[in-house]
Subunit: 477 residues, 2 copies
């Protein structure tokens, strides 16, 4: 290591670190904004009274932290990234972690057949109606060969949109097929929704913790995230949201009122009404991700906030990736007043949703016993989550706390504060066990001592051993 | 009509038109840029010495032309749109046409079963191996039910990537499966490529004329298009491209060297080498859309520019939507040095490509007689294009010129200069005949007297009559 990088106890930080801290201050305070060029090497060298080499070292350190980026022949620029507006306490973390790398690592691990799958929130094929679905798909392909290979241009399959509309009644709202556009999974629905109602640089309010894919999506689209704290039982803290929308120009809110990811919380009906009202008063669109809405552990299917919307401001997103066939990539969006914009964006993003998968999902919804399947799946997930909770309680370090989800199939685990999830992830992966570390669920890499466990794979002795082993690794951390 | 809107011969333009012209001048000159707020009503009223009502009228006229947009409680802003840098000659066109609306109209027409499909460039299901493909898909679904419903996370199907890699040899290049990422059709490949190598505001060089979907995509992504003229036989004018990259900071070039859309031109090998060299010298990425590469009318499959690339700067995109199954939405990209970035963007755009469609395409490529099918299809398209040409020559107005495509299945038709394609489209649609009007193929709505005809539907007496009828409508225009 270069001697100038050494920081001996009792001495000042090295010069390069002082320069880096000064520049980071400018970025944190907003004086330098994403896309801005930071002072040239020469200029910073003059400003700080240090050598050009020291400035270069400072800038490389900031680049390491993901704060700025060098561009060939142009100098260094502030990176466009997901930013929370909460005060930064830099000392908590030695460096910023990029959600993107963590996400890639998580999904790469999910592709490995020999890794225990507590990481990505996939339902296991064991709990899905694979054989029945294959029969339906095969029959449709043979009966409608031309239709199945031809484009089904946006808004997509009539049959599927009719089924989605029918089922909207159960969620307390009344969609018509004409309000719905089919998408390549829930991910495309979410991505189109955000692009339709916000533009680069806009602030989007999200739950905290929230699904890391959403944070990465906002980063990719150069939107800025502002995190609204979650109550583990009731979902988004609406007082905090109200303070935020008064203080900031929030372009949209993304929420998962029914069974948030990772907390599994369910927003009470009164809160949903208040959320709709707060946003309507300011004409702020709500992107309501209802991907888990049918996976409640209780007996009734909760209503969607969309049911409270009379202004066309709620973009309701759904998918069949958690309940039927993740690999079919069939989702949908009801974009309210943003219908034309979403339909246009869909054309230039994927042109059309695959035809045969839409036909198959529509057929399963109409005649495949979807409600019966859902009832079994909900019971199964509730049981699974309870079993995983029990194993965690028995084998994780004393002081560990575990969420009590009202729906879905993931657990949110808080380890004692001294145990960092990221190094634990490295050690667990080395032993063939995956999970999603807490910092992925925050734009500011909060939740350093949290982890999310996927419970969708039926517990067998191998999974039980692996989960207990993860507890042991945590104890030794 | 309001009296102030009347413009009697011999008098000056009305006041509102003068104000509108002054503001448009600011926009055309770049003094007001996309996203800028135009002067407030009050301020403009003072500046021009006219009433507030006149300013409002002027701004509404500019909004009609697609130049500015009103936002609730905020005023009027310059619209972000695809802009060519070529000098604007406003007098040629009474108003700007939005590609987006035209595209929606085109695809909406394509959904109507009773409209004669000369519009969207879809291959007819009649010329695709629908039944064979259905058999393959049905068998795979039954044999691999779990795999077919499960996620196949990026980079996507191993089997499909192996087949794409094998076939890259025929295009004169050598892809490995590890360099390839599968996508939801060629559209997603193109969209990810542009997002990976450019950012909002960047200038992207495109062919002129070019595929309207590309122009709309650039507009949706807030990239600016700069049009490089095409030679009808040899493709992109490389002298013009060189002048452009010297003058402008071009962030990427998008080209369809093998059988451009709409011209059907094929870039000679020497031009491809030069194109690669020009871009390499300036480190400009080339997004090479090879969607038509296998559809040459001659006996050999032309090479891709990717074969000349040793710097990882070419992002090669392909798809099976034109040759096998549009509705399966299976495409791919080999993004060179931008692999990780594209893979990351794929995760937040559609998460994964549908599994079963990938399995089916891979199986068809490996064991379905794809080469045999391609040979028939190429012969068929060459014959079709010749037949459509003959009908057009016989029935369109004297002075009409028609492209001589070297591949693909569309014709580019130049009507006599006095005949405008847009009103002709309205009249044709009213009689149930669709086509793609020329202005869609240019960010500046050039090619006002051109149209593109899809020849992928086998000629029968109904299509022949419809094409002749279109000629009659053009004659009467």
């Amino acid at each position: 290591m270069d001697a100038t990088r050494m920081n001996r106890p009792g001495t000042d930080p090295p010069l390069y670190a002082q320069v880096a801290a000064a520049v980071q201050e400018l970025i944190d305070s907003g004086a330098l904004r994403p896309g801005d060029r930071v002072p040239s090497i020469r200029r910073a060298s003059r400003q700080h009274g240090v050598s050009a080499n020291t400035v270069v070292e400072a800038y490389l350190a900031l680049e390491d932290r993901g704060l700025i980026e060098g561009r060939p022949k142009s100098g260094f620029f502030v990176r466009s990234r997901v930013l929370a507006k909460a005060p930064s306490r830099r000392t908590e973390r030695p460096r910023l972690v990029e959600v993107g790398n963590l996400q890639t690592r998580l999904f790469d691990a999910a592709r490995m057949r020999d890794v225990v799958p507590f990481g990505a929130a996939y339902p296991s094929a064991d709990v899905l109606p694979a054989v029945k679905f294959a029969r339906i798909t095969a029959a449709l392909a043979r009966q409608h060969p031309r239709e199945s290979i031809s484009y089904d241009m946006p808004p997509g399959s009539d049959a599927l949109r009719r089924e989605v509309a029918k089922r909207s009644l159960e969620a307390g709202t009344t969609l018509t097929p004409e309000e719905i556009i089919t998408t390549c999974g829930g991910t495309e629905a979410l991505s189109l929704a955000i692009r339709a109602v916000t533009k680069p640089g806009d602030v989007v309010a999200v739950e905290s913790p929230t699904y890391f894919g959403l944070l990465q999506l906002l980063d990719d689209l150069r939107r800025r995230a502002i995190e609204i704290p979650m109550d583990p039982r009731n979902g988004m803290d609406l007082d905090a949201l109200e303070r935020t929308v008064r203080r900031e120009r929030v372009a949209a809110v993304v929420a998962v009122p029914n069974f948030s990811n990772p907390l599994g919380s369910a927003m009470p009906e009164a809160h949903k009404a208040r959320l709709a009202e707060v946003l309507r008063a300011r004409e702020i669109p709500l992107i309501e991700d209802d991907i888990n809405g049918e996976l409640g552990h209780g007996s009734t299917r909760p209503k969607v906030v969309h049911a409270q919307d009379h202004a066309g401001l709620v973009l309701l997103c759904g998918s069949y990736s958690k309940t039927l066939a993740p690999g079919y990539r069939v989702g949908w969006i009801a974009p309210g007043r943003f219908y034309e914009r979403v339909k246009g964006l869909k054309l230039t993003t994927t042109l059309a949703t695959p035809s045969l998968p839409q036909m198959a999902v529509a057929e399963f919804l109409a005649n495949g016993g979807y409600d019966h399947h859902l009832r079994s799946l909900r019971t199964l997930f509730a049981t699974q989550v309870a079993r995983y909770r029990a194993i965690i309680s028995a084998s994780f370090p004393p002081g560990t706390r575990v969420s009590e989800p009202a729906g879905g199939f993931v657990l949110w685990v808080e380890l004692p504060a001294r145990i960092a999830a990221l190094p634990l992830q490295e050690r667990a992966l080395a032993e063939g066990i995956s999970f999603a570390p807490g910092p992925m669920f925050s734009a500011r890499q909060r939740f350093t001592n949290f982890l999310r466990i996927n419970c969708a794979h039926p517990v067998d002795s191998k999974l039980e051993d692996a989960l207990a082993r993860l507890g042991s690794l945590a104890k030794r951390a």
